[in-house]
């Protein structure tokens, strides 16, 4: 069963209880940020801060409004972090759809940061390993819901079977449309095969306004590197090794005795020192 998290952005009141729950459950120390004139806790995710409520200030019809969104790992079906990671077992896709990071196996290369279309993983400056939301894999493994879901006071967050949540999300989007939000819809980007974090947005055609990328895909340079380039490298390596080997088998080494001299016939060398014959 694939599990998912549904975020109904219309119900978020910005209380940040989920941020606190995440920090507490994962036992992360809070590092002070800078105050930048926003209600948002931090400008971005950090290696020890995996769940960020974004207070997106948007001008709409002459009024400023907050488009709330919860930012964290999306647990993509086609995960760019996983595609980019060279270390076996450092990024593990669980049977329930969670993309889990196993820090013992992480080598700290940071490729997952570049592979992720949502710019989610972060390297710790001390351990030099990559961190992000684990969808509370240590809770879901024993049948508990993730900490953020558990704590949310408004039912903005729901956890459950993905297909079920997708239906709920569509229903909710339908209600919003009926209420006059013609652009309401579900955020479940297909470029990464769909995500296990789903959103209901009032302005679904402009997810950027919520700080979500419009058409996320695994970056093409990453696909090139992990796809055709691997074939090319393998081909060039074995082609050259076999080419050299068979060149030797067919032609053998260069031999001054047999192979005739270059056009400019330089004077023959003396046989022994001071032999000027």
């Amino acid at each position: 069963m694939i599990v998912a998290k549904l975020i109904d952005t219309t119900l978020c009141i910005g209380c940040k209880a989920c941020e606190v729950a995440c920090q507490e459950w994962n036992d992360q120390e809070y590092t002070m940020g800078t105050f930048d004139g926003s209600y948002q806790t931090k400008p971005e995710l950090e290696y020890n801060f995996w769940n960020l409520i974004k207070f997106n200030e948007v001008e709409k019809d002459g009024a400023t409004s907050w488009l709330m969104s919860k930012y964290q790992c999306m647990h993509c079906a086609d995960a760019g972090c996983l595609a980019a990671c060279p270390a076996p077992g450092a990024i593990v896709p669980l049977a329930n759809g969670t993309i889990d990071f196993v820090h013992e196996n992480c080598i700290g290369c940071g490729y997952c940061i570049t592979g992720c279309p949502f710019d989610v993983p972060r390297l710790s400056p001390t351990s030099k390993k990559a961190y992000k939301c684990t969808l509370c894999s240590d809770r879901t493994a024993v049948g508990l819901e993730p900490a953020c879901i558990k704590t949310c006071p408004t039912n903005c967050l729901t956890f459950g079977e993905r297909d079920e949540l997708l239906r709920m999300a569509e229903t909710r989007a339908g209600e919003l449309k009926a209420d006059g939000f013609a652009d309401a819809g579900v955020y479940n980007p297909q470029g990464v095969g769909g995500t296990n974090v789903l959103y209901v947005l009032k302005h679904a055609s402009e997810p950027e306004q919520y700080g979500l990328p419009k058409d996320p895909v695994i970056p093409w340079t990453v696909s090139l590197w992990k796809g055709p380039m691997k074939w090319m490298g393998t081909f060039m390596f074995w082609g050259t090794v076999l080419g050299a080997f068979f060149h030797f088998v067919i032609y053998g080494p260069q031999d001054p005795e047999k192979h005739g001299h270059p056009a400019d016939k330089a004077e023959a060398p003396p046989k022994e020192p001071n032999d000027k014959s």
Partner: protein, 211 residues
């Protein structure tokens, strides 16, 4: 009979050049193995062999820096002599003659033949690309995303190019051209070798040495 004690030796690479060359080779070899381990989970066993992934993630960039510095030293020493002359340009168009041992059809080479010169320039260009893109990949937290996306494809691409050309180079230096290894290990060659492989170089040597 030629008395080995009395054989004529033409100095080819001095100690500075030999040390420089083998430092490039060793650092390149290490960077290649660790780099391949960082390339693909299938080649990760190379990392296991060399102390584990976490360790090689730390060492690969430093060894890369050593390699880049040595290549800088090599460029200072050899760049001038590696310029292609008119004969070299003709040589390149007849490379197949070289590969099939039809040496009589080739224009004479100087201290380095055109193939060696091309290897040198290829390596130098690849080193520059590897150095710049490698630096970006070293510090993903501090680098803009666009640069990282470029580097993550450019670094392995440059590596494929340089590894392939080094494979050819190693074949030439070990099996295909007998006695060239002596030049790089001991520093000298015999006159017959010089005359066959590098006639113009041999002539200059002859002219300035009374043997």
């Amino acid at each position: 009979m030629t008395n080995p004690e009395a054989e004529i030796r033409i100095p080819r690479f001095d100690a500075y050049e030999r040390v420089m060359h083998w430092m490039a080779a060793l650092s390149f070899f290490y960077a290649t193995l660790t780099g391949l381990a960082l390339w693909s989970p299938k080649l990760y066993w190379m990392a296991t062999m060399l102390g584990g992934g976490y360790h090689i993630r730390g060492s690969h960039p430093w060894v890369g820096i050593v390699f880049a510095v040595v290549m800088g030293v090599m460029a200072r020493r050899w760049a001038k002599g590696m310029r292609l002359d008119a004969d070299d340009r003709v040589w390149l168009t007849r490379m197949h003659k070289y590969a099939t041992h039809d040496h009589a059809a080739l224009p004479p080479s100087g201290r380095f033949n055109a193939g060696q010169k091309m290897l040198f320039w290829t390596q130098l260009a690849a080193t520059l690309a590897l150095f710049l893109s490698g630096f970006v990949l070293w510090f993903p937290e501090w680098m803009p995303r666009s640069l990282r996306l470029l580097s993550i494809a450019a670094h392995p691409l440059a590596a494929i190019g340089s590894i392939t050309s080094i494979l050819v180079h190693v074949y030439m230096g070990t099996a295909a051209v007998p006695h060239s290894m002596r030049a790089m290990l001991r520093g000298y060659v015999l006159p017959e070798w010089a005359r066959f492989h590098h006639p113009k170089w041999y002539k200059t040597w002859r002219a300035s040495n009374d043997v």
